[in-house]
Structures are given as C-alpha cells and as structure tokens.
Amino acid sequence: MNAPLKTPLPPIAKPRLSAQALLPSAAALGNLFKAGIAPLLGIIAFIGFWSLLAQYSEGLPGPLSTWQAALVLFADPFYDNGPNDMGIGWNILNSLGRVGVGFGLAALVGIPLGFAIGRFTFLAGMLAPIISLLRPVSPLAWLPIGLLVFEAAGPASIWVIFISSIWPIILNTAAGVASVPQDYLNVARVLKLSEFKVLTRILFPAVLPHLMTGIRLAIGVAWLVIVAAEMLTGGIGLGFWVWDEWNNLNVEHILIAIIIVGLVGLALEQILLLIAKRFDYAS
C-alpha cells in the first residue's frame, strides 16, 4: 500500500512451480483420494442396495441387466424407425428442445417483467396477489389450458414449461432489482446518468447474479416438469419414452430414463453454476 508504484517481482520461481504442477505431491494425491472416496462409497452402497432389492423383487431389474440394456441403447442413440420408435438421443434432444423453447419464452417475458416489478412499487403491488395465487399451482394443471388454446400437444407442453419456469425468473429478477445497493444508484445520480445507462451499466450487471439464480431454478423446474408433461402429451421425448417403455413393460429402460433425467438435470445445473460464477462480483 505504501509503494503503489512498485513494479511486480520478476517471476523467477516459475520453472520450479511448473515442475511441481507436473508432479503432484503425495499429499495432494491423498487429498484427492479422500475427496473421492466418500462419493464412490455412496454409489457402491447404492448399487449394492439396488441389486439386493432387485433380487427379492419380481419386476425390478438389477443393476447389471440395466447396464447391459443401456449399452445396447446407447450403441445407436440416433436411429429413426418412425415417430414411435426413435433412438434415445432423439428423445433427449427433443425434451431439451422443449425446455429450451419454453424457458426461452419465459425469460423473454419474465426478465423485463421482473425488472419492471423491481423498479416500480405500484406495479409490484398490482401483480403481487396474482403471482402469489398462480405460483403454487402445479405446472401440469396448466396443461389442459394449453391444449385448449393451442389445440396441439407440442405447444401445450412448451406452454407448461413456460408457465412453470416464469415465476422463479420474475421473482428473482424483481428481488435483485429491489436489492441493488443504494450506493450504486447514488453514483448514478451524482453522475446524472441517463435511464438507459443506469439500466445497462448499473442495474443489469447488479441484478445479473440474482437473475442467474432465477434462471437456474427455472431450468431445474422446467426439467422436472417436462418428463411429466410429455407423459401426458406424447410425441418424441423422454417423458413419452418412459410411458412407452412402461407400456412395453421394459422396466430396464424406465430405470435408464430415470438416470438420464438425473444426469441431464445435474449437467444443466452445473453448467449454469459455472456461468453464474462468471458474474459473481465479490465487492
């Protein structure tokens, strides 16, 4: 602090450091082992419990037969034998596509609405009772309305995704806008920034971390809901596939679907967390 003009030290320690990075120490390896051992044990215990359960149950397939079925399934994920028999890859992509479209529309409507609610207390007061009333409604209850209005299964399931993922986006954006530190707004006032600059330079970056939380929750809900919605509407998608395999009494495939839904949900969450980290400014 006393000598702010001091030039940084020359990087003399660099070669030694890179050698260290190449050969991780025994302690680091030990830490990695310790960090990995608990999840690994958990998974092993889970599989053990599953195979035990499968042995004493009539219909439930064990881990091994499920694994073998999965190998067959993923050997050719993108085959196409007509609309009722397509590869697992197509089903996943179709579900993701619906989530993407429904969520995208929700973001398109929800983010500006959230900003407006956060900025104008009168509007917040107007919309608060409606949002509080509609938010706890199960997303699937909206499906008949979608079918009625759109007269088609595809748009109806996108509508369900839209309506279920819009609430976290609106509420988190509004909360973010309302909690922008007064200091930042005072800076804007002293500088007499235009409304547009306040929005782009101050409000939007300040709200972004909250917005990312909203998006993460919204995608999580959307992914939860899509499987259920597709079970009801049919078409190509994971939900339809689960229902179809139930009708075929192919329980291995249902178990595989559950794991896929879990893995895709996990991946979506991790990707969004990674993106969110980029916008998290510790001040």
Binding site: P4, L5, T7, N186, V187, V190, L193, A206, L208, S283
Partner: protein, 263 residues
C-alpha cells in the same frame, strides 16, 4: 468573502416509523472557492446529512442551498462525491469506473482518445496507473478509495464532497492517503467539503473546521479557522504548538461542550 457554496437556515427532518426526526435545524455555512472545509462532530450529528444536502442527494425541508450562484436542485457531476465505502461498480475495472464519469462529463465535447487520456491522468494522479485494468475486488481498500477519489477528481467538479473517505482504512494507509489528498488539492485548488470524525485529519487538511452540535436538531456549533501555512507536512506539524492549539480547541469542543451522546 466570496460565497461559493452557501447554506442559509437549512433544516432537514426524516419521517421514520417512530415519528419525525429533526436531523438538522437552522444550519448556516458559507464556503469560499478553493477552500477546504471539514465537518466534524459526534456520530449521528448530521454531518453526512449536510454533505448529502450539498450533493443534492437529499432535499432540504427549509432554507436555501446555493452553489456557484445557482440553487442546488438534485445531484450533479459539478458536485462530485467521494463515498465513505468507495462505491465502485464491481463489474467494471478501475479504468472503467473512472471512465464512466469522464464519459458522462466530457463525452459530448471530447473524442475517445481525450477521454481515455483524462481517465488515465486521473488514475495517475492517485498513483494507480499500474492497477488501471484490475477490478475493485482485486485491490486493497486504500486503493479502492483512491479510485473513488480519482473518479470524483476526473469530473473536474466545482466542489469535491468527501464523506468520511478514509474512515474504513487502517491508520497508516489513512495517513498516506491524507498526504496524497493534500498534494492533489494543492495542485488542483479544488473546493473541498469533507466529513470526518478524526480531529487530526481535520486540522491537517482543512482551512476551516466546522464543528457541529449533537443531534437531534444539530447545527453549526463553532467554526475554527486553521491558519497553518501550506504545503503542510505531517511530521513538521507534529511539533508545531499552533497545530496542537487547534487540535485542543476541536477536542475541547467535542468532549467538553458537546458531550458524546450515550452510544
């Protein structure tokens, strides 16, 4: 005396849940161009309120505020504020934070290269040209406060308003930044109003010290003219009897005539 900033029987109250709180009553103060004025008083005496009134961030309930012959009506870049907690925007680099202000004030008249030069010059003045492209979370508290000062100075304000700018810093960093501020103000001949609760800081930096009575209904208790020659040197002043006389005068006001309110 040339009245550059003038407050005439200003009062301010806040409406709280417990009823009306009269923060300031009948505050009268004139500040000359190029003068360095410190506002000192116990915490809660409304010294920051006075500063925010001059900044235009708050509106007075009664009385008049004039800056450079014009009524103060809302905030504006000609009355730049250095905030207590630096208030840098964390998503912009130090350069970006200062540039935002420069762009706003000079953007209409100057080209991009000139704006960039202004920004760099301001950061240079506070000794931060090496940290220009760092984000606020990558630099120390003292450096953040320097960026805040650079941002305010870069606007070439008519009045520089500082709200306990060094309050959150450790003693050594604070002393260092006080010396820098003395040097910069000597160069720029800025008019400065600084809120502080540090007696040494007030005597070292100011031309006049405005001592405020305790709230509620706080007002200007006494004004002490600090007649020490400039440039001032911290070490030389440490043995200066005149400096100690000023210091004692402020301490007496704060601790004898204005007992500290029950904290």
């Amino acid at each position: 005396m040339d009245k550059f900033v003038e407050l005439t029987s200003v009062s301010k109250h806040f409406d709280t849940k417990k009823g009306r709180f009269q923060a300031l009553a009948d505050v009268n103060l004139s500040i000359a161009r190029g003068e360095f004025v410190a506002l000192i008083g116990h915490s809660g005496c409304g010294k920051s309120t006075v500063l925010n009134l001059i900044a235009g961030l708050l509106d007075a309930n009664e009385g008049g505020l004039i800056c450079n012959g014009r009524e103060i009506d809302g905030p504006g870049p000609e009355r730049a504020v250095v905030f207590q907690n630096h208030s840098l925007l964390p998503w912009m680099t130090c350069f970006g934070n200062v540039h935002l202000a420069v762009e706003k004030v000079f953007g209409a008249r100057e080209n991009k290269a000139q704006l960039k030069a202004r920004t760099e010059q301001a950061l240079n003045m506070v000794g931060l040209n090496h940290a220009m492209h760092k984000h606020p979370n990558e630099i120390s508290g003292g450096m953040k406060q320097r960026v805040g000062i650079a941002r305010a100075l870069a606007m070439e304000p008519k009045v520089l308003l500082m709200d306990e700018p060094f309050g959150a810093l450790d003693a050594l960093t604070r002393a260092h930044l006080q010396d820098e501020l003395l040097r910069i103000v000597g160069q720029t001949q800025s008019t400065v109003v600084m809120v502080t609760h540090d007696v040494d800081e007030a005597v070292l930096l100011s031309d006049r010290i405005v001592m405020m009575t305790n709230g509620p209904a706080a007002t200007v208790g006494e004004i002490l003219a600090v007649d020490l020659p400039r440039p001032r040197d911290r070490l030389a002043l440490a043995n200066d009897p005149q400096y100690h006389a000023y210091r004692t005068a402020v301490l007496e006001f704060l601790y004898q005539r204005q007992q500290r309110p029950a904290a």
